[in-house]
Protein backbone atom coordinates (compact mmCIF):
# COMPACT_ATOMS: atom_id res chain seq x y z
CA UNK A 1 0.00 0.00 0.00
CA UNK A 2 1.70 3.18 -1.10
CA UNK A 3 0.93 6.43 0.62
CA UNK A 4 -0.30 7.88 -2.68
CA UNK A 5 -3.30 5.57 -2.77
CA UNK A 6 -4.27 6.42 0.79
CA UNK A 7 -7.75 7.89 1.15
CA UNK A 8 -7.14 11.54 2.01
CA UNK A 9 -8.87 11.69 5.35
CA UNK A 10 -8.72 8.30 6.99
CA UNK A 11 -8.06 8.50 10.72
CA UNK A 12 -6.89 4.90 10.81
CA UNK A 13 -5.59 3.08 7.80
CA UNK A 14 -4.44 -0.48 8.40
CA UNK A 15 -3.42 -2.97 5.74
CA UNK A 16 -2.63 -6.57 6.56
CA UNK A 17 -2.53 -5.81 10.28
CA UNK A 18 -1.21 -8.95 11.97
CA UNK A 19 -0.39 -9.93 15.53
CA UNK A 20 1.30 -13.13 16.59
CA UNK A 21 2.07 -14.21 20.12
CA UNK A 22 4.66 -16.91 19.50
CA UNK A 23 3.01 -19.44 17.21
CA UNK A 24 -0.51 -18.16 17.92
CA UNK A 25 -1.91 -15.63 15.45
CA UNK A 26 -4.42 -13.39 17.21
CA UNK A 27 -5.04 -10.88 14.43
CA UNK A 28 -4.77 -12.37 10.94
CA UNK A 29 -3.94 -9.60 8.48
CA UNK A 30 -6.98 -7.34 8.71
CA UNK A 31 -7.60 -4.21 6.62
CA UNK A 32 -9.28 -1.29 8.36
CA UNK A 33 -10.18 2.13 7.03
CA UNK A 34 -11.70 4.39 9.64
CA UNK A 35 -12.97 7.62 8.06
CA UNK A 36 -12.73 10.98 9.79
CA UNK A 37 -15.82 11.94 11.78
CA UNK A 38 -18.44 9.64 13.24
CA UNK A 39 -18.20 6.57 15.37
CA UNK A 40 -16.57 3.35 14.21
CA UNK A 41 -17.31 0.11 16.03
CA UNK A 42 -15.09 -2.92 16.50
CA UNK A 43 -17.34 -5.82 17.47
CA UNK A 44 -16.58 -9.40 18.25
CA UNK A 45 -16.88 -12.11 20.88
CA UNK A 46 -14.42 -12.31 23.77
CA UNK A 47 -11.00 -13.24 22.47
CA UNK A 48 -11.81 -12.19 18.90
CA UNK A 49 -8.82 -9.80 18.77
CA UNK A 50 -10.60 -6.49 19.46
CA UNK A 51 -8.38 -5.25 22.27
CA UNK A 52 -5.21 -6.47 20.54
CA UNK A 53 -6.23 -4.55 17.41
CA UNK A 54 -6.87 -1.46 19.51
CA UNK A 55 -3.53 -1.86 21.27
CA UNK A 56 -1.76 -2.05 17.92
CA UNK A 57 -3.55 1.07 16.67
CA UNK A 58 -2.41 2.99 19.75
CA UNK A 59 1.11 1.57 19.51
CA UNK A 60 1.09 -0.35 22.79
CA UNK A 61 1.48 -3.65 21.00
CA UNK A 62 4.02 -3.96 18.17
CA UNK A 63 2.57 -5.25 14.89
CA UNK A 64 3.86 -8.60 13.69
CA UNK A 65 3.02 -7.60 10.12
CA UNK A 66 1.22 -5.09 7.95
CA UNK A 67 1.25 -1.32 7.71
CA UNK A 68 -0.58 1.17 9.85
CA UNK A 69 -1.08 4.90 9.79
CA UNK A 70 -3.04 6.87 12.36
CA UNK A 71 -4.11 10.48 11.71
CA UNK A 72 -2.04 10.28 8.55
CA UNK A 73 1.13 9.49 10.51
CA UNK A 74 3.07 6.24 10.44
CA UNK A 75 2.78 3.98 13.48
CA UNK A 76 4.99 3.23 15.37
CA UNK A 77 7.49 5.86 14.15
CA UNK A 78 5.24 8.83 14.98
CA UNK A 79 3.84 7.39 18.19
CA UNK A 80 4.48 10.51 20.31
CA UNK A 81 2.80 12.79 17.79
CA UNK A 82 -0.15 10.44 17.32
CA UNK A 83 -0.68 10.19 21.09
CA UNK A 84 -0.62 13.97 21.43
CA UNK A 85 -3.73 14.10 19.22
CA UNK A 86 -5.50 10.97 20.50
CA UNK A 87 -7.55 10.15 23.59
CA UNK A 88 -7.74 6.65 25.04
CA UNK A 89 -10.37 5.25 27.41
CA UNK A 90 -8.96 1.91 28.60
CA UNK A 91 -11.02 -1.15 29.37
CA UNK A 92 -10.17 -1.05 33.07
CA UNK A 93 -9.92 2.24 34.92
CA UNK A 94 -6.32 3.07 35.78
CA UNK A 95 -6.38 6.42 37.51
CA UNK A 96 -3.75 7.16 40.14
CA UNK A 97 -5.27 5.98 43.44
CA UNK A 98 -3.18 8.45 45.44
CA UNK A 99 -4.54 11.49 43.60
CA UNK A 100 -7.96 13.13 43.79
CA UNK A 101 -10.17 13.52 40.72
CA UNK A 102 -8.81 16.94 39.84
CA UNK A 103 -5.21 15.95 40.63
CA UNK A 104 -5.54 13.01 38.27
CA UNK A 105 -6.63 15.32 35.46
CA UNK A 106 -3.87 17.84 36.22
CA UNK A 107 -1.19 15.14 36.21
CA UNK A 108 -2.51 13.65 32.99
CA UNK A 109 -2.42 17.11 31.39
CA UNK A 110 1.25 17.35 32.33
CA UNK A 111 2.02 14.14 30.45
CA UNK A 112 0.79 15.95 27.34
CA UNK A 113 3.08 18.88 28.08
CA UNK A 114 0.13 21.04 29.18
CA UNK A 115 0.50 23.27 32.25
CA UNK A 116 -2.15 22.77 34.95
CA UNK A 117 -2.71 26.55 35.05
CA UNK A 118 -3.52 26.53 31.34
CA UNK A 119 -5.99 23.65 31.56
CA UNK A 120 -7.80 24.74 34.75
CA UNK A 121 -10.77 25.99 32.72
CA UNK A 122 -10.77 22.89 30.57
CA UNK A 123 -10.75 20.63 33.65
CA UNK A 124 -13.81 22.46 35.02
CA UNK A 125 -15.56 22.03 31.67
CA UNK A 126 -14.75 18.33 31.47
CA UNK A 127 -15.88 17.71 35.06
CA UNK A 128 -19.16 19.44 34.19
CA UNK A 129 -19.47 17.53 30.91
CA UNK A 130 -19.18 14.19 32.73
CA UNK A 131 -21.18 15.33 35.77
CA UNK A 132 -18.30 15.00 38.19
CA UNK A 133 -18.07 18.65 39.34
CA UNK A 134 -19.13 17.85 42.91
CA UNK A 135 -16.52 15.06 43.07
CA UNK A 136 -13.48 17.07 42.07
CA UNK A 137 -11.68 16.58 45.39
CA UNK A 138 -12.73 12.96 45.93
CA UNK A 139 -10.16 10.17 46.20
CA UNK A 140 -10.42 7.22 43.81
CA UNK A 141 -11.63 4.83 46.51
CA UNK A 142 -14.60 7.17 47.11
CA UNK A 143 -15.77 6.89 43.49
CA UNK A 144 -18.26 4.36 42.15
CA UNK A 145 -17.48 2.33 39.04
CA UNK A 146 -19.57 4.68 36.93
CA UNK A 147 -17.75 7.74 38.27
CA UNK A 148 -14.36 6.19 37.59
CA UNK A 149 -15.37 5.41 34.03
CA UNK A 150 -16.60 8.96 33.52
CA UNK A 151 -13.29 10.21 34.92
CA UNK A 152 -11.49 7.96 32.40
CA UNK A 153 -13.46 9.65 29.64
CA UNK A 154 -12.74 13.13 31.03
CA UNK A 155 -9.05 12.23 31.24
CA UNK A 156 -9.03 11.02 27.63
CA UNK A 157 -10.35 14.44 26.56
CA UNK A 158 -7.79 16.54 28.47
CA UNK A 159 -5.65 17.11 25.35
CA UNK A 160 -8.72 17.97 23.19
CA UNK A 161 -8.04 14.97 20.94
CA UNK A 162 -9.43 14.67 17.42
CA UNK A 163 -9.50 10.87 17.67
CA UNK A 164 -10.84 8.99 20.71
CA UNK A 165 -10.52 5.25 21.27
CA UNK A 166 -12.78 3.58 23.81
CA UNK A 167 -12.33 -0.05 24.85
CA UNK A 168 -15.70 -1.33 26.12
CA UNK A 169 -16.69 2.03 27.60
CA UNK A 170 -19.89 0.94 29.36
CA UNK A 171 -19.11 -2.63 30.42
CA UNK A 172 -20.37 -3.28 33.95
CA UNK A 173 -22.19 0.04 34.37
CA UNK A 174 -25.81 0.65 35.36
CA UNK A 175 -28.36 1.85 32.75
CA UNK A 176 -28.34 5.46 33.94
CA UNK A 177 -24.58 5.80 33.54
CA UNK A 178 -24.65 3.99 30.20
CA UNK A 179 -27.22 6.47 28.89
CA UNK A 180 -25.21 9.42 30.15
CA UNK A 181 -22.08 8.09 28.46
CA UNK A 182 -23.94 7.43 25.21
CA UNK A 183 -25.31 10.98 25.21
CA UNK A 184 -21.84 12.39 25.76
CA UNK A 185 -20.27 10.22 23.07
CA UNK A 186 -22.93 11.37 20.60
CA UNK A 187 -22.12 14.97 21.55
CA UNK A 188 -18.43 14.35 20.93
CA UNK A 189 -19.29 12.84 17.57
CA UNK A 190 -21.47 15.85 16.72
CA UNK A 191 -18.57 18.16 17.55
CA UNK A 192 -16.54 16.51 14.79
CA UNK A 193 -14.40 14.07 16.71
CA UNK A 194 -13.74 10.57 15.43
CA UNK A 195 -14.62 7.75 17.81
CA UNK A 196 -13.38 4.17 17.67
CA UNK A 197 -15.06 1.87 20.12
CA UNK A 198 -15.04 -1.80 20.95
CA UNK A 199 -18.04 -3.36 22.58
CA UNK A 200 -19.89 -6.60 22.82
CA UNK A 201 -23.14 -4.82 23.61
CA UNK A 202 -25.00 -4.85 20.33
CA UNK A 203 -27.50 -2.22 21.49
CA UNK A 204 -24.58 0.10 22.22
CA UNK A 205 -23.09 -0.45 18.77
CA UNK A 206 -26.48 0.10 17.13
CA UNK A 207 -27.04 3.34 19.03
CA UNK A 208 -23.60 4.86 18.53
CA UNK A 209 -21.83 3.47 15.50
CA UNK A 210 -22.09 4.79 11.98
CA UNK A 211 -19.85 2.06 10.62
CA UNK A 212 -18.67 -1.13 12.19
CA UNK A 213 -16.71 -4.28 11.57
CA UNK A 214 -17.40 -7.63 13.19
CA UNK A 215 -14.22 -9.56 13.86
CA UNK A 216 -13.98 -13.15 14.95
CA UNK A 217 -10.88 -15.29 15.44
CA UNK A 218 -8.73 -12.38 14.27
CA UNK A 219 -10.49 -11.90 10.93
CA UNK A 220 -13.10 -9.44 9.70
CA UNK A 221 -16.37 -11.31 9.29
CA UNK A 222 -18.40 -8.44 7.90
CA UNK A 223 -18.52 -4.66 7.83
CA UNK A 224 -21.01 -1.90 7.12
CA UNK A 225 -23.54 0.34 8.86
CA UNK A 226 -25.71 -1.22 11.60
CA UNK A 227 -28.88 -0.89 9.50
CA UNK A 228 -27.14 -2.12 6.37
CA UNK A 229 -25.79 -5.19 8.17
CA UNK A 230 -29.19 -6.03 9.65
CA UNK A 231 -30.99 -5.85 6.30
CA UNK A 232 -28.14 -7.71 4.60
CA UNK A 233 -27.92 -10.62 7.02
CA UNK A 234 -31.22 -11.02 8.85
CA UNK A 235 -34.92 -11.18 7.96
CA UNK A 236 -36.82 -8.10 9.20
CA UNK A 237 -39.14 -9.91 11.66
CA UNK A 238 -38.09 -11.88 14.69
CA UNK A 239 -40.48 -13.99 16.77
CA UNK A 240 -39.00 -15.19 20.03
CA UNK A 241 -40.55 -18.11 21.87
CA UNK A 242 -39.47 -19.66 25.17
CA UNK A 243 -40.13 -23.37 25.63
CA UNK A 244 -39.05 -26.93 25.03
CA UNK A 245 -38.03 -27.78 21.49
CA UNK A 246 -40.69 -30.52 21.35
CA UNK A 247 -43.55 -28.06 21.70
CA UNK A 248 -42.12 -25.18 19.66
CA UNK A 249 -40.40 -26.73 16.65
CA UNK A 250 -43.56 -28.45 15.26
CA UNK A 251 -45.39 -25.11 15.35
CA UNK A 252 -42.74 -22.79 13.89
CA UNK A 253 -40.61 -25.19 11.82
CA UNK A 254 -40.68 -25.19 8.06
CA UNK A 255 -42.67 -22.01 7.38
CA UNK A 256 -41.82 -20.81 3.86
CA UNK A 257 -39.71 -17.61 3.91
CA UNK A 258 -38.59 -18.14 7.47
CA UNK A 259 -35.91 -19.97 9.41
CA UNK A 260 -35.92 -21.23 12.97
CA UNK A 261 -32.90 -20.99 15.25
CA UNK A 262 -32.71 -22.53 18.70
CA UNK A 263 -30.34 -21.27 21.40
CA UNK A 264 -30.89 -23.26 24.59
CA UNK A 265 -34.62 -22.94 25.35
CA UNK A 266 -35.07 -19.80 23.26
CA UNK A 267 -36.31 -20.20 19.70
CA UNK A 268 -35.86 -17.41 17.17
CA UNK A 269 -38.05 -17.48 14.09
CA UNK A 270 -36.61 -15.12 11.47
CA UNK A 271 -39.22 -14.25 8.87
CA UNK A 272 -39.44 -12.02 5.81
CA UNK A 273 -43.26 -12.00 6.14
CA UNK A 274 -44.97 -11.86 9.50
CA UNK A 275 -48.41 -13.22 8.36
CA UNK A 276 -47.61 -16.94 7.97
CA UNK A 277 -45.82 -17.05 11.35
CA UNK A 278 -48.69 -15.39 13.21
CA UNK A 279 -51.14 -17.75 11.50
CA UNK A 280 -49.23 -20.74 12.92
CA UNK A 281 -49.07 -19.16 16.39
CA UNK A 282 -52.85 -18.62 16.41
CA UNK A 283 -53.20 -22.39 16.21
CA UNK A 284 -50.95 -22.81 19.25
CA UNK A 285 -52.37 -20.59 22.03
CA UNK A 286 -50.18 -22.33 24.67
CA UNK A 287 -47.05 -20.63 23.23
CA UNK A 288 -46.15 -17.18 24.55
CA UNK A 289 -44.16 -15.18 22.06
CA UNK A 290 -42.67 -11.76 21.50
CA UNK A 291 -42.40 -10.07 18.16
CA UNK A 292 -39.63 -7.58 17.50
CA UNK A 293 -37.70 -6.18 14.57
CA UNK A 294 -34.32 -7.67 13.73
CA UNK A 295 -31.34 -6.08 15.46
CA UNK A 296 -27.60 -6.21 15.44
CA UNK A 297 -27.52 -9.00 17.99
CA UNK A 298 -29.22 -11.27 15.45
CA UNK A 299 -26.49 -10.42 12.93
CA UNK A 300 -23.82 -11.03 15.54
CA UNK A 301 -25.25 -14.42 16.56
CA UNK A 302 -25.66 -15.47 12.96
CA UNK A 303 -22.11 -14.57 11.99
CA UNK A 304 -20.17 -15.58 15.10
CA UNK A 305 -22.23 -18.62 16.09
CA UNK A 306 -23.87 -19.59 19.32
CA UNK A 307 -21.26 -21.58 21.14
CA UNK A 308 -19.74 -20.07 24.26
CA UNK A 309 -16.35 -18.39 23.91
CA UNK A 310 -13.40 -18.09 26.31
Amino acid sequence: MSLASRPPDAVVLARGLTKKFGERTVVCGIDLTIPRGGCFGLLGPNGAGKTTTLRMIIGQSPMSGGTLSVLGLPMPDAVREIHARTGVVPQSDNQDPDFTVVENLRMYARYFGLRPADVAGRIDELLGFLELSDRRDARMRELSGGMKRRLSIARALINDPEFIMLDEPTTGLDPQVRHLIWTRLRQLKASGKTLLLTTHYMDEAERLCDQLVVIDRGRIVTQGSPRGLISEHVEPHVIEVQGEAGSVVPVLGGIPGSRLLTVGETHYCYASELGPVLARLEGAPHLRYTHRTANLEDVFLKLTGHELRE
Binding site: Q60, S61, A84, D98, E103, R110, Y111
Partner: protein, 261 residues
Protein backbone atom coordinates in the same frame (compact mmCIF):
# COMPACT_ATOMS: atom_id res chain seq x y z
CA UNK B 1 10.03 -8.39 17.45
CA UNK B 2 12.69 -9.34 20.00
CA UNK B 3 15.32 -7.18 18.29
CA UNK B 4 13.21 -4.11 18.98
CA UNK B 5 13.79 -4.57 22.70
CA UNK B 6 17.55 -4.31 22.33
CA UNK B 7 17.77 -0.78 20.91
CA UNK B 8 19.34 1.83 23.19
CA UNK B 9 16.82 3.89 25.18
CA UNK B 10 15.95 7.32 23.78
CA UNK B 11 14.21 9.20 26.59
CA UNK B 12 13.13 12.81 26.24
CA UNK B 13 12.96 15.64 28.75
CA UNK B 14 9.31 14.70 29.36
CA UNK B 15 10.66 11.78 31.42
CA UNK B 16 10.74 14.35 34.23
CA UNK B 17 6.91 14.18 34.31
CA UNK B 18 7.21 10.63 35.68
CA UNK B 19 9.63 11.93 38.29
CA UNK B 20 7.20 14.75 39.11
CA UNK B 21 4.28 12.33 39.47
CA UNK B 22 6.22 10.23 41.95
CA UNK B 23 7.35 13.28 43.90
CA UNK B 24 3.71 14.44 44.23
CA UNK B 25 2.64 11.00 45.46
CA UNK B 26 5.64 10.82 47.82
CA UNK B 27 4.61 14.13 49.38
CA UNK B 28 1.16 12.70 50.07
CA UNK B 29 2.52 9.50 51.60
CA UNK B 30 5.40 11.14 53.46
CA UNK B 31 4.60 9.59 56.85
CA UNK B 32 4.67 5.88 55.99
CA UNK B 33 7.49 6.40 53.48
CA UNK B 34 9.75 8.04 56.10
CA UNK B 35 8.81 5.62 58.86
CA UNK B 36 9.92 2.76 56.62
CA UNK B 37 13.22 4.24 55.38
CA UNK B 38 14.11 6.09 58.55
CA UNK B 39 13.02 3.84 61.41
CA UNK B 40 15.23 0.82 60.80
CA UNK B 41 18.58 2.58 60.23
CA UNK B 42 18.05 4.79 63.27
CA UNK B 43 17.31 1.74 65.42
CA UNK B 44 20.51 0.07 64.15
CA UNK B 45 22.43 3.24 64.83
CA UNK B 46 21.14 3.61 68.37
CA UNK B 47 21.20 -0.08 69.26
CA UNK B 48 24.48 -1.14 67.71
CA UNK B 49 26.19 2.24 67.76
CA UNK B 50 25.71 2.90 71.44
CA UNK B 51 25.75 -0.75 72.50
CA UNK B 52 28.66 -2.18 70.49
CA UNK B 53 30.39 1.18 70.34
CA UNK B 54 31.16 0.92 74.06
CA UNK B 55 33.27 -2.20 73.44
CA UNK B 56 34.76 -1.32 70.06
CA UNK B 57 35.83 2.28 70.57
CA UNK B 58 37.49 3.20 67.26
CA UNK B 59 37.79 1.50 63.87
CA UNK B 60 40.54 2.77 61.57
CA UNK B 61 40.82 5.99 63.55
CA UNK B 62 37.07 6.66 63.42
CA UNK B 63 34.77 6.38 66.45
CA UNK B 64 32.56 3.30 65.93
CA UNK B 65 29.39 5.39 66.19
CA UNK B 66 30.53 7.49 63.23
CA UNK B 67 31.87 4.47 61.37
CA UNK B 68 28.50 2.74 61.68
CA UNK B 69 26.48 5.86 60.85
CA UNK B 70 28.35 6.22 57.55
CA UNK B 71 27.73 2.57 56.67
CA UNK B 72 24.04 2.83 57.51
CA UNK B 73 23.66 5.95 55.35
CA UNK B 74 25.05 4.07 52.34
CA UNK B 75 22.86 1.04 53.11
CA UNK B 76 19.81 3.28 53.43
CA UNK B 77 20.45 4.84 50.02
CA UNK B 78 20.74 1.30 48.62
CA UNK B 79 17.56 0.06 50.32
CA UNK B 80 15.38 3.04 49.43
CA UNK B 81 16.15 2.84 45.71
CA UNK B 82 15.94 -0.96 45.67
CA UNK B 83 12.54 -1.11 47.35
CA UNK B 84 11.11 1.76 45.31
CA UNK B 85 12.43 0.20 42.11
CA UNK B 86 11.00 -3.22 42.94
CA UNK B 87 7.79 -2.87 44.97
CA UNK B 88 6.54 0.55 43.91
CA UNK B 89 7.44 0.15 40.26
CA UNK B 90 5.82 -3.30 40.22
CA UNK B 91 2.65 -1.81 41.73
CA UNK B 92 2.56 0.95 39.13
CA UNK B 93 3.25 -1.55 36.35
CA UNK B 94 0.66 -4.17 37.36
CA UNK B 95 -2.01 -3.44 39.99
CA UNK B 96 -2.40 0.28 39.32
CA UNK B 97 -1.65 0.08 35.58
CA UNK B 98 -0.20 3.55 35.88
CA UNK B 99 2.17 2.90 33.00
CA UNK B 100 -0.64 1.75 30.71
CA UNK B 101 -2.33 5.10 31.32
CA UNK B 102 0.91 6.97 30.71
CA UNK B 103 1.70 5.04 27.53
CA UNK B 104 -1.48 6.48 25.95
CA UNK B 105 0.11 9.95 26.22
CA UNK B 106 3.16 11.22 24.29
CA UNK B 107 5.45 9.60 26.89
CA UNK B 108 7.20 6.33 26.00
CA UNK B 109 8.63 3.38 27.92
CA UNK B 110 12.07 5.00 27.64
CA UNK B 111 10.70 8.08 29.42
CA UNK B 112 9.12 5.91 32.12
CA UNK B 113 12.37 4.05 32.82
CA UNK B 114 14.47 7.23 32.84
CA UNK B 115 11.93 9.00 35.06
CA UNK B 116 11.73 6.08 37.49
CA UNK B 117 15.54 5.82 37.73
CA UNK B 118 15.81 9.53 38.52
CA UNK B 119 12.99 9.20 41.00
CA UNK B 120 14.54 6.20 42.79
CA UNK B 121 17.78 8.20 43.14
CA UNK B 122 15.88 11.26 44.36
CA UNK B 123 14.00 9.21 46.92
CA UNK B 124 17.30 7.69 48.13
CA UNK B 125 18.51 11.22 48.75
CA UNK B 126 15.27 12.47 50.33
CA UNK B 127 14.77 9.50 52.65
CA UNK B 128 18.45 9.16 53.64
CA UNK B 129 18.91 12.85 54.42
CA UNK B 130 16.92 12.69 57.72
CA UNK B 131 19.22 9.89 58.93
CA UNK B 132 22.19 12.19 58.28
CA UNK B 133 20.47 14.84 60.39
CA UNK B 134 19.81 12.37 63.21
CA UNK B 135 23.41 11.13 63.07
CA UNK B 136 24.51 14.75 63.36
CA UNK B 137 22.17 15.43 66.28
CA UNK B 138 23.43 12.32 68.08
CA UNK B 139 27.00 13.56 67.70
CA UNK B 140 28.18 11.04 65.10
CA UNK B 141 29.10 13.79 62.64
CA UNK B 142 31.43 16.67 63.40
CA UNK B 143 32.64 17.67 59.94
CA UNK B 144 31.05 19.87 57.28
CA UNK B 145 32.51 17.52 54.70
CA UNK B 146 29.58 15.22 55.56
CA UNK B 147 27.42 17.45 53.34
CA UNK B 148 29.48 16.10 50.45
CA UNK B 149 27.85 12.71 51.06
CA UNK B 150 24.43 14.04 49.99
CA UNK B 151 25.05 13.83 46.22
CA UNK B 152 26.54 10.39 46.80
CA UNK B 153 23.16 9.23 48.20
CA UNK B 154 21.68 10.20 44.83
CA UNK B 155 24.39 8.36 42.91
CA UNK B 156 23.98 5.25 45.07
CA UNK B 157 20.22 5.38 44.42
CA UNK B 158 20.85 5.61 40.68
CA UNK B 159 23.21 2.63 40.89
CA UNK B 160 20.68 0.38 42.65
CA UNK B 161 17.60 1.59 40.74
CA UNK B 162 18.47 -0.21 37.48
CA UNK B 163 18.79 -3.75 38.91
CA UNK B 164 15.63 -3.16 40.99
CA UNK B 165 13.68 -2.16 37.87
CA UNK B 166 14.94 -5.28 36.10
CA UNK B 167 13.62 -7.34 39.03
CA UNK B 168 10.25 -5.55 38.82
CA UNK B 169 10.10 -6.32 35.08
CA UNK B 170 10.80 -10.01 35.71
CA UNK B 171 8.52 -10.44 38.73
CA UNK B 172 5.25 -12.35 38.59
CA UNK B 173 4.38 -11.27 42.14
CA UNK B 174 5.88 -9.43 45.10
CA UNK B 175 7.27 -12.71 46.46
CA UNK B 176 9.80 -12.79 43.61
CA UNK B 177 11.67 -9.89 45.24
CA UNK B 178 12.65 -12.18 48.12
CA UNK B 179 15.29 -13.76 45.85
CA UNK B 180 16.98 -10.46 45.10
CA UNK B 181 16.69 -9.20 48.68
CA UNK B 182 17.98 -12.41 50.25
CA UNK B 183 20.66 -13.22 47.69
CA UNK B 184 22.04 -9.72 47.06
CA UNK B 185 20.75 -6.91 49.23
CA UNK B 186 21.09 -8.60 52.62
CA UNK B 187 24.56 -10.10 51.90
CA UNK B 188 25.76 -6.69 50.73
CA UNK B 189 24.35 -5.11 53.88
CA UNK B 190 26.23 -7.62 56.07
CA UNK B 191 29.51 -8.06 54.13
CA UNK B 192 30.20 -4.77 52.33
CA UNK B 193 31.60 -2.83 55.28
CA UNK B 194 28.55 -1.32 56.96
CA UNK B 195 29.39 -2.85 60.35
CA UNK B 196 33.14 -3.62 60.04
CA UNK B 197 35.94 -2.91 57.55
CA UNK B 198 35.97 -5.03 54.39
CA UNK B 199 39.69 -5.63 55.03
CA UNK B 200 38.81 -8.01 57.89
CA UNK B 201 37.22 -10.45 55.39
CA UNK B 202 39.21 -13.30 53.76
CA UNK B 203 40.91 -12.22 50.51
CA UNK B 204 38.54 -14.09 48.21
CA UNK B 205 35.50 -12.58 49.94
CA UNK B 206 37.04 -9.13 49.55
CA UNK B 207 37.24 -9.64 45.78
CA UNK B 208 33.55 -10.47 45.61
CA UNK B 209 32.57 -7.60 47.88
CA UNK B 210 34.59 -5.15 45.80
CA UNK B 211 32.81 -6.22 42.63
CA UNK B 212 29.47 -5.34 44.24
CA UNK B 213 28.59 -1.66 44.46
CA UNK B 214 27.76 -1.09 48.14
CA UNK B 215 31.44 -1.25 49.28
CA UNK B 216 32.25 1.55 46.81
CA UNK B 217 29.35 3.63 48.12
CA UNK B 218 30.70 3.21 51.65
CA UNK B 219 34.23 3.98 50.48
CA UNK B 220 32.95 7.39 49.37
CA UNK B 221 30.49 8.17 52.16
CA UNK B 222 32.55 7.09 55.18
CA UNK B 223 35.54 9.45 54.71
CA UNK B 224 33.18 12.33 53.90
CA UNK B 225 31.13 11.70 57.06
CA UNK B 226 34.21 11.19 59.24
CA UNK B 227 36.17 14.08 57.77
CA UNK B 228 38.98 11.91 56.42
CA UNK B 229 40.64 12.18 53.00
CA UNK B 230 38.97 10.25 50.16
CA UNK B 231 40.91 7.29 48.75
CA UNK B 232 40.54 6.59 45.01
CA UNK B 233 37.32 8.61 44.71
CA UNK B 234 37.37 8.45 40.88
CA UNK B 235 37.42 4.65 40.98
CA UNK B 236 34.48 4.41 43.37
CA UNK B 237 32.44 6.98 41.45
CA UNK B 238 33.26 5.16 38.21
CA UNK B 239 32.01 1.83 39.60
CA UNK B 240 28.74 3.39 40.77
CA UNK B 241 28.26 5.23 37.45
CA UNK B 242 28.98 2.03 35.51
CA UNK B 243 26.36 0.13 37.52
CA UNK B 244 23.88 2.95 36.94
CA UNK B 245 24.54 3.03 33.18
CA UNK B 246 24.39 -0.74 32.65
CA UNK B 247 21.38 -0.97 34.97
CA UNK B 248 19.59 1.74 33.03
CA UNK B 249 20.02 0.06 29.66
CA UNK B 250 19.08 -3.34 31.11
CA UNK B 251 16.01 -1.88 32.85
CA UNK B 252 14.91 -0.24 29.58
CA UNK B 253 15.18 -3.53 27.73
CA UNK B 254 13.31 -5.56 30.35
CA UNK B 255 10.59 -3.02 31.12
CA UNK B 256 9.98 -2.52 27.40
CA UNK B 257 9.63 -6.28 27.00
CA UNK B 258 7.15 -6.36 29.87
CA UNK B 259 5.00 -3.39 28.82
CA UNK B 260 5.03 -3.54 25.02
CA UNK B 261 3.63 -6.91 24.03
Amino acid sequence: MAYMNLVLPRPQISALKIWQRNLLVWRKLLGPSMAFSFGEPVIYLLGLGYGLGQFIGEVGGIPYFTFLAAGLLAASAMNVASFEGMFSVFTRMTHQQTYDAILATPLTVDDIVAGEMLWCATKSLLNTLPILVVAFLLGAIENWSALGAIPVFFLVGLCFAGPALVMAALAASYDFFNYYTTLLITPMFIFSGVFYPVATLPAIAQVVVNILPLSHAIALIRPLVAGQPLVDPALHVAVLVAYAAVGYVAASVFIRRRLIR
